[in-house]
């Protein structure tokens, strides 16, 4: 995937998030940002610089931070909890009871998800967060694909009333979308059209899906690519159309193959218009240290593996 030209001068998703949050700070005077001693890692150092009085330090204590967000929201503020995705898992029960069950207008923004974390290794690479947070009633789950979409999703998250879990990303992310891009919670988008197969991707896998579609095109295979930035609620209507029109689906995520985007897509299509599916993701194992692109190759979620999955699912369609 990594086209140096695309990556050059492009922010990581966490940087894009931090800058967007800072830019939106004046427009959303009730916005407060909660940090557990990793503002530089999550990108919210930008907000700390622009709005120091609304930056709340909780120390390395994520459970208290997560539940305290419920209390802050109860006083009318819009708390944005920021930490690494693995530490969100540590506080998931606080998110369940004190944010979702109490239906608070609180946001969780998780940086460092998936293999995209890179060298920090398996302990730091959350490959379970989409599945876990998606299972909580009332939680909206978002994973934007590029810096432009991240900025738009940050605004949409603040405008939305209710709990949201949003993934950012650690590594530089290629810019895929222009300023004319539209982001809406709950809506997927066809970002490349095709007839033979649909690749449904989120987060860093969207760029890899576009690269895979290029590879397939060289073999005369026409692949559609859907950017499914909202994992919950999933855009079931768009999936149904893609199933009808292309007859085969590949899902792609930097996450365990169980319970994340692939699970959400399968659940939706199973009830509407089932078709052959292949799931690209980490195959129910933990990550490891390495550079993100090396890891994507090692764990079979890079573009060539996406293209292979597309060929397999097309073959199943014909059989």
């Amino acid at each position: 995937m990594s086209n140096p030209a695309l990556v050059a001068n492009s922010d990581s998703l966490r940087e894009a998030f931090g800058k967007a949050l800072s830019a939106l700070g004046d427009e959303f005077p009730k916005l407060v940002v909660l940090d557990a001693d990793i503002a530089g890692g999550t990108g919210v150092h930008h907000f700390r610089k622009s709005h120091p009085k609304r930056m709340l330090q909780f120390g390395i204590a994520e459970q208290n931070m997560m539940a305290a967000a419920g209390g802050l929201a109860a006083t009318g503020l819009i708390p944005v909890v920021t930490t690494f995705a693995v530490f969100c898992l540590r506080a998931i029960e606080q998110a369940r009871l004190s944010l979702c069950y109490a239906r608070r207008n609180a946001k969780i923004v998780a940086s460092h998800p998936g293999l995209d974390v890179g060298p920090d290794g398996g302990s730091a690479q959350a490959l379970e967060d989409l599945a876990a947070f998606r299972a909580i009633p009332g939680m909206t789950v978002i994973s934007p694909a590029d810096p432009t979409e991240m900025a738009m999703a940050t605004r949409a998250m603040l405008e939305y009333q209710g709990p949201v879990y949003m993934r950012t990303g650690r590594s530089p992310a290629p810019r895929l979308f222009g300023d004319d891009h539209k982001f809406e919670i709950g809506r997927g988008q066809i970002i490349r059209d095709g007839d033979d197969v649909t690749i449904v991707a989120c987060g860093v896998e969207v760029a890899r899906a576009l690269a895979a579609a290029e590879m397939l095109a060289r073999d005369g295979i026409s692949a559609r690519v859907v950017n499914m930035a909202t994992i919950k609620p999933i855009d079931a209507a768009l999936l149904s159309i893609c199933s009808l029109e292309t007859g085969a689906i590949v899902t792609a995520e930097d996450h365990n193959i169980h319970g994340g985007l692939g699970g959400a897509v399968a659940e939706a299509l199973g009830q509407t218009r089932p078709c052959p599916m292949e799931f690209v993701g980490v195959r129910d194992t933990f990550g490891a240290s390495g550079e993100p692109d090396e890891l994507a190759h090692h764990f079979s979620i890079s573009a060539p593996f996406l293209a292979d999955a597309a060929r397999r699912v097309i073959a199943r369609k014909k059989s």
């Binding site: 120390g59 459970q63 208290n64 209390g71 929201a73 109860a74 006083t75 606080q94 069950y101 109490a102």
Partner: protein, 296 residues
């Protein structure tokens, strides 16, 4: 917010203390009755915390049934959510919910769930039942009020066993760090938890020293003495730059002799009608009151 005077009157006002003792007696009776009707529930910790709840709702909180959505109200969070019957009973006594309806504890379609839920009952302020979280939510409320310069106070009641949750100590550090002098936590220190004595399960002592070391203003009182409870709450309200902790020494099952100091009554237990009558009688309920509680 409409500025209500503090309900406080001087702690030596005997008539107020008498009123609060009557409120606490009602809280205990109503808790026993609702647990009887539910067929399950936690009586021990409801009985031990009744006097604290009576003082909070009856004398301390700047909160009335008409102000439960006022942004400037004082807030109380029952962090030990399993004492919900006592919270509902206090709510019933002070006009936040109906005394009869709130006997429908733990029933399908009743807002009086086994643990408090804010979407069912807005005046309970947040949903609790997972120990440690109410403390953090209350801390978030106190911090939110400070940030918005709302001159209201936040109170939370914790169980002693609850202090074994690491989250409580995360919150203890954060409250002191942020100098939340609008925040007051109370511990219902009845020395017993679900399976056994605190000391046998996971010792808490020296408890006051721990909280002092965490930067809190600490008071130790008899949690069944209205004068001491009111005095500690008043002192907490005048403390600056630090959060306050009231360690209330209590008796689990207080007021019902066959329950007192016996961990088995932590709950969740089923009360027979005979046990219920015996408990209500011990609590000083009249025959007429007992019939009223038993037949809804």
């Amino acid at each position: 917010m409409t500025q209500h005077p503090k309900k406080f009157v001087p702690a030596n006002d005997v008539s107020l203390e008498e009123k609060l003792r009557e409120a606490a007696r009602f809280v205990r009776c109503h808790s026993i009755a609702s647990i009887f009707h539910a067929g399950s529930g936690h009586p021990g910790g409801a009985l031990s915390s009744a006097d604290l709840l009576a003082c909070l709702y009856g004398a301390e909180l700047n909160l009335w049934p008409g102000t439960v959505t006022d942004p400037a109200r004082d807030r109380f969070v029952l962090s030990k959510g399993h004492a919900a019957p006592a919270l509902y009973a206090a709510g019933a006594y002070f006009g936040f919910c109906d005394p009869k309806a709130s006997l429908a504890l733990r029933k399908l379609n009743s807002p009086f769930q086994g643990h408090p839920h804010v979407l069912d009952l807005p005046w309970v302020e947040t949903s609790t039942g997972s120990l440690g979280q109410g403390m953090s939510v209350a801390l978030g409320m106190a911090l939110g009020m400070k940030l918005q310069e709302i001159p209201a106070r936040v109170y939370t009641l914790l169980g002693d066993g609850e202090l074994q949750e690491g989250e409580v100590w995360e919150a203890a550090m954060a409250a002191a760090h942020h100098k939340l002098d609008n925040f007051c936590a109370l511990i219902d220190y009845n020395k017993l938890q679900s399976d056994n004595a605190n000391a046998a399960i996971m010792g808490l002592e020296p408890l006051a020293d721990k909280w002092r070391a965490f930067g809190w203003n600490v008071a130790e009182i008899d949690g069944h003495d209205m004068s001491q409870i009111l005095g500690a709450l008043r002192k907490a309200g005048t403390t600056r730059e630090r959060p306050s902790l009231i360690i209330a020494h209590t008796i689990k099952g207080k007021g019902v002799p066959y329950m007192e100091n016996i961990p088995a009554w932590h709950g969740s237990v089923k009360l027979t009608e005979a046990q219920t009558r015996e408990a209500l009688t011990a609590l000083g309920a009249s025959e007429q009151e007992i019939e009223g509680f038993l037949h809804v």
